[in-house]
């Protein structure tokens, strides 16, 4: 292909689809859907689905304050670090086809680590903000990260093991298109990774690092204005990224269907699957209370890691 055309498509992919604009819009709609469904479950009306756009817009008009005792450069840099990482993850997920937007380095291990950079950004934000709430929040987030990372990696490796040890998401999606969803073949690993999802996304019962009634807002307590808006958008895109990752691993990724003669593009299938995972996360969030950090650690390294391990051993032995 001519070089300028390739560069142009890459820029469009990065900026618009599935890069910044698409992730931004869909991520914020996901938060809106989550809040609306949660509100109806609580027998009330709740905000309209487009409310997160208004929230982010309002935050961009507010004053940007840096506490005088904070580590200035780190405090200001942390949101953009996280945002950049999560956009990179979106560019490496299969969103509109089995092949991701930038497939050169799109590898399972790379994505697992990139998905932790937003968490790292929040931790850095917490310690650099000179507030004791931030410090406590970061301490809890470090423990929680160690807690859920173990079963997450075990479950992901189980999928890779089943798909003949291919580590690229494209290969895993292709394997599922040939052999059916891995959800049915590896149910325990799927259950493990669905239990890890609230932990990764800081949703009840695992919203311990940002426990509102205990430590105000945890690591992000001192943030305001545009930087808080960037963190907010980053957290919402993370929902889309984690749901997309689980879709690619267990639900067959984006597949195009033909129903009654109508061609349905793969992106619609992708959105339906990710919204289904979102609704599951919302249900879990609505019916549980917040756990304590050592109870979360015990849960993840106990029950969840064990079921993931059982499935891994099963795949490797049989």
């Amino acid at each position: 292909m001519v070089l300028w055309a390739e560069v142009l498509t890459s820029i469009v992919k990065f900026l618009i689809f599935p890069g910044i604009v698409f992730s931004f819009v869909v991520g914020l709609f996901f938060e809106g859907i989550d809040r609306k469904i949660s509100a109806h479950m609580q027998h009330r009306i709740g905000p309209p689905i487009w409310q997160p756009f208004l929230d982010v817009g309002k935050l961009f008009t507010k004053e940007d304050i840096t506490p005088s005792n904070a580590e200035g450069w780190l405090f200001n840099f942390a949101p953009y670090l996280g945002f950049g990482a999560i956009i990179t993850v979106m560019l490496m997920l299969p969103v509109y086809a089995a092949q991701p937007a930038f497939s050169a380095a799109a590898d399972l291990i790379v994505i697992i680590y990139l998905l932790n950079i937003p968490a790292l950004a929040i931790m850095l934000a917490g310690v650099s903000s000179s507030s004791s709430f931030g410090t406590v929040g970061t301490e809890r987030y470090v423990v929680q990260l160690f807690a859920f990372e173990l079963p997450f990696i075990i479950a992901s490796l189980t999928v890779a093991a089943q798909a003949n040890w291919t580590l690229s998401l494209e290969g895993i999606v292709a394997y599922q298109q040939a052999n059916g969803w891995l959800l049915w073949e590896l149910p325990l690993a799927a259950a493990a990774i669905l239990l890890v999802a609230p932990g990764k996304l800081l949703k009840t019962p695992f919203d311990i690092p940002e426990a509102e009634t205990e430590i105000v807002y945890g690591p992000l307590t001192e943030y305001s204005g545009p930087k808080l808006a960037v963190f907010n958008v980053m957290e919402n895109i993370k929902i889309l990224a984690v749901a997309g990752f689980i879709t690619a691993l267990f639900l067959g990724g984006p597949t195009a269907h033909v129903i009654a003669g109508v061609q349905i593009p793969a992106i619609v299938d992708f959105l339906i699957k990710t919204i289904a995972i979102l609704i599951l996360i919302t249900l879990i969030r609505t019916v549980t209370a917040r756990l304590r950090i050592h109870q979360a650690l015990k849960f993840y390294w106990g029950f969840v890691a064990i079921i993931a391990l059982i499935n891994l051993v099963y795949v490797m032995v049989i």
Partner: protein, 384 residues
Amino acid sequence: MSFVVPVGPQHPALEEPEHFRFTVEGEEIVDVDFRLGYMHRGIEKAFEEKSFPRALYLAERICGICSGIHSIACVEAVEELAGVEAPRRARFLRTVLAELERVHSHLLWAGIAAHEIGFMTLFHLTWRDREHVLDVLEMLTGNRVNYAANKIGGVRFDVEPKHLGKISNVLDDLEEDALRYMDVFTSDRTITARCEGEGVLSKGEALRLATVGPTARASGVDEDMRRDDPFAAYGEIDVDVKTAEGGDVLANAEVRLSEILESINILRNAVEQLPEGPLSVDAPKKIPEGQATNRVEAPRGELLYHFKSDGGEKPSRGKVRTPTMANIPAIIEKLKGETIAEIPIVVASIDPCFCCTERVQIVDKNTGKTQTLTKKELREMREE
């Protein structure tokens, strides 16, 4: 590495402003220091400026949640001073008011406790059911809080036959809901993980610290002013006092939720046995000289009103001792050895109502400066 976590005066965990300073190492609390005084409004002084009927309205506004019981306590103290006895029907109606308020207050507590442990759904659902109680109160008295229901010599509202249908429906629904919440609170795994064994107050400590109300009953102390020092119509109605063992947050929840069920029974009895008769008798404007103390069982514990009159139209001294004031040392005892995650739920487990509590202030006669006492200073003064 220890550092200080300040909680309050503005904090999502607190419903009213108070200030706690926790010195923590990691997650474990090593030391607690607290200071109150943010809600001090000078009400006891204001009592001296107002005639007795107006002081009644002021007493009602000390607290929003328990405003009815403050009004009952105040008016009975004044009636004792004036030598006036409210008619039997009025006393039964006051019982109805007190019990309805107990139900709504305990449902509010259940919601707040759920909110403190991050369980927003239970918060919304309990407050939704509380709306029905407030509707009944509005139907009977004309307002959801600050009922303006009492006057010296009787009451100003009535339960009419046309109200009975709605009251009965609401009580039936509430009984179902209270049983459901009792089931959820005692058996849901995430709630028991957060509440069981947290904030333990042993029976010995509860007695030593003179804890009152459901907080004491959750530690096994069998004390209830409705049975032990009857006010309103409680002398004629049986009250089954609920206690629990353990003194932790879960025991507090059990006691309060079973008290809702007991209140529903008392309400049914009171409404059924409502005697005929006048709603009020006349009371003198000038209250004879003397002092009177009245103790009632507010939703949070024993509430004490003391009035002193010198024969005029205004009280010469009014004193209020609210249950949360008696329970504050219990918070300190409960928080020893806990972690940061327990702070909101343990503080909430005594059902604090800090706007009721603020009464202590010292004025230094020489310099005219006011000073609020810190806990350390109070303890030092006590030991002197």
